[in-house]
């Protein structure tokens, strides 16, 4: 069965390197995904108020597009898209009455939605379908000297039943990094919130979180921090400017999408890695390690 790919807004702009490195890696791994011909914003955050059905429409529309593409599975890369699409899907499956109400707003959609699309994150596909030991066999460039602290943030692991790994001690990214030949570094801040959307009006709050998270990763010996969410990536990377301004002892460090690290290991070219989008340029470190 073919898999549909839902990119989401930021994967086409600030996080284009997340998309490019993923598509190159998937090609090397022999996984075929097809981007949805038509898609819209997922809503970015799941609406928590019990009576707020209106904001679930955007997600449902995307799930209908998945069915229109004759597929039953949609893959996401962004942790926020994953969380929002999956929660909306689970919500309407558990509450058919709300689905009926939502259908009343669907005038143009030809396919009725019944909750029958699977929402999966790329990491789930790699871990459960392809399996990490098979990925390890396709590694062309060993990452042996690269120490990677994996930062999961909130929405890959929480809430329970939506996240796809242990709530308190997730391992999926660490296991992938080890399979790719890098050295996974554990650190206590790996599921601590980066401050998310507060970055717009309270960058100083993000600077404080970035300081705690990255200082902890560095103290455990990490060279880089791997992420899977474009908002975490922005906060941990670009807000290092504010962090360095606020904390004189702060040492800057590169932030990479886990797919960029995977793409390096699988032999993708530098054009697929998109280092121009970073605030902290990862190239000097990667050159020093002999990886680019």
């Amino acid at each position: 069965m073919k898999i549909s790919y839902y990119p989401g807004c930021t994967l086409k702009s600030n996080a284009k390197n997340f998309e490019d490195s993923t598509l190159c890696s998937l090609k090397e791994l022999g996984i075929d995904v097809q981007e949805l011909k038509r898609w819209n914003c997922c809503g970015t955050v799941y609406s928590l108020a019990t009576d707020d059905l209106m904001h679930h429409l955007a997600s449902i529309r995307n799930l209908i597009h998945v069915k229109e593409a004759q597929t039953d599975t949609v893959m996401t890369l962004c942790a926020m898209c994953y969380n929002t699409l999956k929660r909306v899907n689970e919500r309407i499956k558990a509450d058919p009455e709300s689905l009926e109400k939502i259908h009343k707003f669907m005038d143009e959609e030809k396919v009725p939605y019944q909750g029958d699309v699977k929402v999966r994150h790329l990491l789930e596909l790699l871990r459960d379908d392809l399996k990490f030991e098979n990925i390890a066999k396709k590694v062309k460039k060993s990452l042996k000297d690269l120490k990677v602290a994996s930062y999961y943030g909130c929405l890959l692991v929480r809430p329970k039943d939506i996240g796809f790994d242990d709530l308190e001690n997730p391992r999926v990214l660490d296991d992938l990094m080890n399979a790719l030949g890098a050295k996974a570094v554990d650190f206590p801040y790996k599921t601590e919130c980066c401050g998310a959307y507060q970055t717009v009006d309270k960058p100083e709050v993000i600077a404080e979180r970035t300081y705690s998270i990255l200082t902890s990763a560095r103290s455990q010996g990490a060279d880089v921090v791997a992420v899977s969410c474009p908002l975490c990536a922005f906060n941990l990377d670009h807000r290092q400017k504010e962090t360095a301004h606020k904390y004189s002892d702060f040492k800057k460090m590169p932030i990479l999408y886990f797919t960029q690290i995977m793409a390096i290991a699988l032999g993708c070219e530098e054009k697929d890695l998109g280092f121009g989008l970073h605030y902290i340029d990862p190239k000097p470190l990667l050159k020093q390690k002999g990886l680019i």
Binding site: S13, T44, D51, C154, E192, G195, V205, P230, H238
Partner: protein
């Protein structure tokens, strides 16, 4: 500050509204404080997460709606997954924000954001911020 606790407030429409919007039974909370212990945002809060639940049980509407805490919470769900009683504290925070947002009390004023503030951040940040902070 003097706080008045009354049956009228406890049984009033505010408590009922918060329970409805959040889908939570507030009296289930026995104040263990685990939500506040694990919250990454407590140092920016004026009322701790467990206190938010206690205040909501007591119907202390003004104290809650004027608090900084409800806007500092970024719905990271750490409290939700750790609560031994299964209360979704993040949903209660959202219900409190909704009470204000539904009366058009937006938390941020979009026209007042500078061009630099808007240009610097990715779409995902702006959209989620406006979804959470405006009506």
């Amino acid at each position: 500050m003097r706080t008045i606790i009354s049956k009228k407030k406890i049984r009033g429409p505010f408590v009922q509204k918060i329970e409805e919007l959040s889908g939570q039974k507030l009296l289930v909370c026995y104040q263990c404080g685990k939500c506040s212990a694990g919250c990454p945002a407590v140092n920016e809060m004026d009322i701790l997460p467990n206190q938010v639940i206690r205040f909501a049980q007591l119907g202390l509407k003004e104290e809650l709606l004027e608090s900084k805490s409800i806007w500092v919470c970024a719905s990271c769900y750490t409290c939700n997954v750790r609560c031994p009683k299964g209360i979704k504290i993040a949903e209660v925070m959202e219900a409190l924000r909704q009470v204000l947002l539904r009366q058009r009390h937006d938390h941020i004023d979009i026209p007042k954001l500078t061009d630099e503030q808007k240009a610097d951040v990715p779409a995902i940040a702006l959209i989620s911020n406006f979804r959470k902070f405006t009506s």
